[in-house]
Amino acid sequence: MHANQLPSRSPGRLKFTDDGATAAAPSALAALARGAGFFGFWLLLARPGTDAPSTPDLAADLVVGLLAAAAATWVSLRLLPPARKGLHFGALARFAVHFIRQSMVAGVDVARRAFDPRLPLNPGYLAYPVRLAPGTGRAAFGAVTSLMPGTLPVGTAADGALIYHCLDVDQPVAAGLARDEALLARVRGNGGGCR
């Protein structure tokens, strides 16, 4: 009934269930980039050198950090294989700006309605025929739009459309969703929003 199927119960080796990224071999570049990012996160957690004055302690800290980053990278590559097309960082920056601006709009919108003594709500449902392929991209779209003004994804219809619960159906909700989708599709390296 849902667009995303549960994992196949093959008795042998476990397989990925992400329908989008099955064939993509983890490229060394993506692994290196992620490993560097995770090592940075480790430095953030451990702050080596701040309270370990001696060199052997610092070296041990860094070695453990490298091992931890390697483990995290391995798990990350298996759970979320890198997409065949890399991310577009210009599009990502534009998307971030859009996201932060819309987050503010969403928060102010909800606060205005909550504090208004008349409680101006006009809730309703809307089916949005999402064009991102099922899988990580569509899940990211759902997560992002759940933070956008007036929209909350509640599930998938039989024909694959995402169903949204809207705070106010009089707002141009679908247009906003379309814009979010287009921006997100560019981040993932697709101009038109289809895989």
């Binding site: 849902h2 994992p7 119960r9 992400d18 931890a68 759902g142």
Partner: protein, 323 residues
């Protein structure tokens, strides 16, 4: 009344209110939800009691994993629940039990109020001997050196607990995959979290174990975080739980206790007593045990939540029905 005392009073009132809710709530599911919130409040209490190590354990294990276990059980047992409520004891009996329990609580309260004032404590003894272990966190020192037998028995007892859970399967299900963590019925929201979060959880978990030698943290806290990540991946349907007959997994389950016992037995020869560490190698040996125990405790915690093996055909039928 100082401001700290005001905060503490509010905290205590919240804790007691939630405890009342857990006891009195009509549905077990609501009570289990209350238990999760109760555990998080207790975490703050532990911080107020200057026990950050305990606070971390309470948040990860007492609130998180226990809460997940109870929520899952409440959902499974909901169909049987309606008849239960009618079987409450009568009002007279409830009042009698209430009075007796209040008397017990009053007795304990009196004990708290009458505790001797220069409190007897072994904190100084621990502080005096901590440098010999090379550790900086006294709680880890107590767990690994001062009372290492307790910790050894505790890590060993987790394995029989898991065997106990497994032994509740049916004959035909033996050797199959644990059946409690059937994947969530929808495919969209949870898998994204389960793909993105685990690497960060792994870093946090390893950091907790590694930093636990000198700072708050340790193998149990770190293992609880690692197990939570594993469970998230299983609940999201990205990985199946391993078969209970899997040999590698069984090896990982016992590697920690084996490591502990092996190094402890070597202590008889090298340092003169079971579980004694030769002074020059105390810290590396303790770290080796911690690594082994982290692996084993992670596996045990995750598999305890995953439940007994379920018969494979039923598992497939369920997954088809829910997809």
């Amino acid at each position: 009344m100082t401001s700290a005392l005001v905060v503490d009073t509010a905290l205590v009132l919240l804790v007691l209110g939630l405890a009342l809710w857990i006891t009195a709530a009509r549905a077990a599911y609501g009570a289990a939800v209350g238990f999760v919130a109760y555990g998080l409040l207790l975490t703050i209490v532990w911080v107020r009691l200057a026990a950050v190590d305990v606070a971390m354990t309470e948040a990860a294990l007492g609130s998180g994993l226990t809460g997940l276990l109870l929520l899952g059980a409440a959902a499974r047992l909901a169909p049987y629940e309606a008849a239960e409520y009618q079987r409450r004891p009568g009002l007279g009996l409830r009042v009698l039990v209430g009075v007796l329990c209040a008397a017990l609580a009053a007795g304990l309260a009196a004990v708290v109020l009458l505790l001797p004032d220069p409190a007897p404590s072994q904190a100084l003894a621990v502080a005096a001997h901590l440098p010999a272990t090379g550790l900086g966190n006294p709680v880890t020192g107590v767990l690994m050196a001062y009372r290492a037998v307790d910790t050894l028995l505790e890590s060993v007892v987790l394995v029989p607990a898991l065997i106990g859970v497994w032994s509740l399967s049916t004959e035909m299900a033996w050797g199959g995959r644990p059946g409690f963590l059937t994947p969530w019925r929808s495919g969209s929201a949870l898998p994204l979290l389960a793909r993105v979060l685990p690497p960060f959880g792994i870093l946090v978990g390893i950091h907790l174990v590694w930093a636990g030698a000198d700072d708050p943290g340790g193998k149990f806290q770190g293992a609880a975080v690692l197990a939570a990540m594993w469970i998230l991946v299983m609940v999201a349907g990205l990985r199946e739980p391993p078969r209970v007959s899997d040999r590698l997994m069984r090896f990982l389950l016992v590697i920690g206790p084996l490591c502990f016992i092996g190094i402890g037995a070597a202590g008889i020869r090298l340092a003169g007593a079971f579980l004694a560490y030769p002074e020059a190698y105390a810290k590396p040996l303790i770290l080796a045990i911690e690594v082994g125990l982290t692996i084993s405790v992670t596996a045990v915690l995750g598999l305890l939540l995953a439940g007994p093996p379920a018969p494979e055909p039923q598992y497939q039928r369920q997954s088809r029905r829910r997809s």
